[in-house]
């Protein structure tokens, strides 16, 4: 119960941060050349100044900036994200349509990166400075240096073009309408390459952190105590070292949540996935500022939720946190 109260307190403290972001981005977007109406007019193929004035008045874009900001925040509290001029739908519904692929991709990539990062980090730390460690560390370094979009393209070349094992893009086969298990398998096939691509850099990061964390914990006093009690090395690692070494990894999930969302922009573009990331890109290119603001809001919200979950997990793992209150 205290864990929930603690995490809840941190969550409440993020609300001002959220507002800070929204206000900041809103004000920033005021500097953008052209606004929603200009984009709409471009879509409509031009129009005269009178139409522009009417449209601006209709959307409340001719009010003063503080008033616009107030309007926007007030609508936001009621979860009304405005109207997308490009898609002709409320921003909220556009975002909701695009959310599932992104969430799926992020969950898959995170799981992949965390699991294998943990595994290889432990292996590297156990055989530190011997060949498994060197091999794993070099691989980690190379993965870290690889631009994700380039890896995606090369993966498409190898697996889709030459080997023809996996599809080159898209979320599912548009032609065939499938349901149930077949649909799941189809989506899974489409997500293999994107998951690998997005997860690669994070795999490298988790690997390095896990290795360093293991090495640090292995040097701590209570590990010496465990050995002095007569524990064999494997049990020392599993019963004493692992849980302590996991703590920085868990924190890292929260810290990297934002970066992963950012990475999905690029990966979704490479693989033509209909997700939130690609929506962000399209809004920038098409100057759909309402949608962009909506995406900023949803991204920040996602990061905050992930951090909340991480706080809960961390407090569950480490009893000292609750004590410090």
């Amino acid at each position: 119960m205290r864990i929930l109260r603690l995490a809840g307190r941190r969550l409440a403290a993020s609300i001002p941060t959220l507002f800070l972001i929204l206000i900041g981005i809103f004000l920033l977007l005021q500097f953008a050349p052209g606004d929603t109406v200009d984009a709409m007019m471009a879509q409509m193929g031009g129009g005269d100044a009178a139409t522009a004035r009417e449209l601006r008045h209709f959307y409340g874009l001719d009010l003063s900036i503080p008033l616009q900001l107030g309007n926007y925040l007030w609508r936001l509290v009621r979860l009304d994200l405005g109207f997308s001029s490009i898609y002709g739908k409320p921003v909220a519904s556009v975002i909701l349509e695009r959310l599932p692929p992104t969430l799926l991709l992020m969950t898959a990539s995170l799981s992949f990166a965390f699991f294998f990062g943990l595994l290889f980090g432990v292996i590297a730390a156990r055989g530190v400075n011997k060949w498994p460690d060197t091999l794993i560390s070099i691989a980690g370094l190379i993965f870290y240096a690889t631009p994700s979009f380039w890896f995606g393209l090369m993966a498409i070349v190898v697996f889709s073009i030459y080997l023809q094992w996996l599809p080159a893009g898209g979320f599912e086969d548009i032609g065939a309408v499938q349901t149930g298990l077949w649909r799941t398998i189809d989506i899974a096939r489409h997500l293999v390459l994107p998951t690998l691509t997005l997860g690669l850099i994070f795999l490298a990061i988790y690997l390095r952190i896990m290795r360093a964390s293991m090495l640090e914990v292995l040097n701590l006093d209570f590990v010496r105590t465990a050995r002095a009690k007569g524990l064999d090395e494997t049990r020392v690692v599993t019963r004493h070292v692992l849980r302590n070494a996991l703590l920085p990894m868990v924190t890292l999930i929260g810290l990297q949540a934002g970066t992963m969302l950012g990475g999905s922009v690029v990966v979704e573009s490479v693989f033509s996935l209909p997700g939130l990331g690609r929506l962000a890109y399209e809004s920038v290119v098409q100057r759909d500022l309402n949608t962009l603001l909506g995406i900023v809001f949803v991204s920040a919200l996602l990061v905050i939720i992930v951090n909340f979950a991480v706080d809960l997990i961390y407090a569950r793992l480490d009893p000292r946190i609750v004590a410090e209150g």
Binding site: P33, L141, F149, L153, V157, V266, R287, V303
Partner: protein, 276 residues
């Protein structure tokens, strides 16, 4: 200096340094080896690498020399990487130092701002900045720097928080030193080394960020950058995949070099951690 000797004892660090020097050499010598404008049409489009002695690495979709673009691209990557990193470190150290030293409400306010920057995915913020301010080389560089300052700020703040309670800082206070003397003279010289090492990470990320922007055609299209070339190569990926492959390898090697040098510096300056 035994830090220098320690650096050269690590084979990885030496490899990194050599690679980095090669990239720098490419950037510097680009004007002599390829005196013509790199984005000018040079020959037939889509010539394969190693098939024509005039175009060692082939030509791209428009018939421009890929090797020339690689050499000139080194300039762009190093420039953007270096300047953006400098901006990020400067802002980050400033904010982190004041937050860590003064604590209290100063720390609270500065950390809220830092948190705001970190909660928003940095690439999304980059997109917003590019949407607002445009895609010239200058704006992209500044944008990348602005997006990257939170991490050095947190690092600096952590260093200041731990150092400000050390007894030699308290001794300085009892001797009558002012706050600014304590910050600049006592704490900063001790806090900077890990931040400087972290600069290599920032630079690696900066180069990757800019190339991602370029790939999405959101960076400056008038310069020969590696990211631009990869984006171009996407259109001909099926057959002439080398147009995308080659600049990607260049990015990989450069970022790898920067990371290795950073790691080598870290190990050289922190010999106690050699047990790793």
């Amino acid at each position: 200096m035994d830090a220098l000797k320690r650096y050269f004892r690590s084979p990885a660090a030496v490899v990194g340094l050599v690679l980095l020097l090669i990239v720098v050499a490419m950037a510097v010598s680009a004007g002599w080896i390829y005196p013509r404008e790199p984005l000018a049409l040079a020959g037939r489009p889509l010539i394969w690498p190693f098939s024509n002695p005039r175009f060692l690495l082939g030509t791209d979709n428009s018939g421009r020399d890929i090797a020339a673009q690689i050499f000139y691209g080194a300039r762009i990557s190093l420039l953007i990487g270096g300047v953006a990193t400098a901006i990020a470190i400067a802002i980050g150290v400033l904010i982190g130092a004041f937050a860590g030293f003064y604590g209290g409400w100063v720390d609270n306010v500065l950390m809220r701002i830092t948190e705001a920057f970190q909660t928003l995915p940095n690439f999304v913020l980059l997109l917003v900045l590019v949407a607002v301010f445009g895609s010239t080389l200058t704006t992209v560089t500044i944008a990348v720097g602005v997006v990257s300052w939170p991490a050095p700020a947190r690092l600096t703040r952590a260093e200041f928080l731990s150092l400000r309670n050390r007894e030699f800082v308290q001794a300085g206070r009892t001797l009558g030193m002012r706050d600014i003397q304590l910050i600049l003279g006592e704490i900063l010289p001790n806090a900077l080394p890990p931040v400087i090492v972290y600069a290599s990470v920032v630079m690696a990320v900066a180069i990757l960020l800019e190339s991602a922007l370029a790939f999405l055609r959101l960076s400056d299209p008038n310069v020969a950058s590696w990211g631009n070339l990869i984006g171009l190569g996407r259109d001909v990926l099926r057959v002439q995949w080398y147009v995308s492959a080659i600049p990607g390898i260049a990015i990989l090697l450069t970022v790898l070099a920067v990371s290795l040098v950073g790691q080598g510096l870290n190990d050289a300056l922190n010999p106690r951690l050699k047990a790793r």
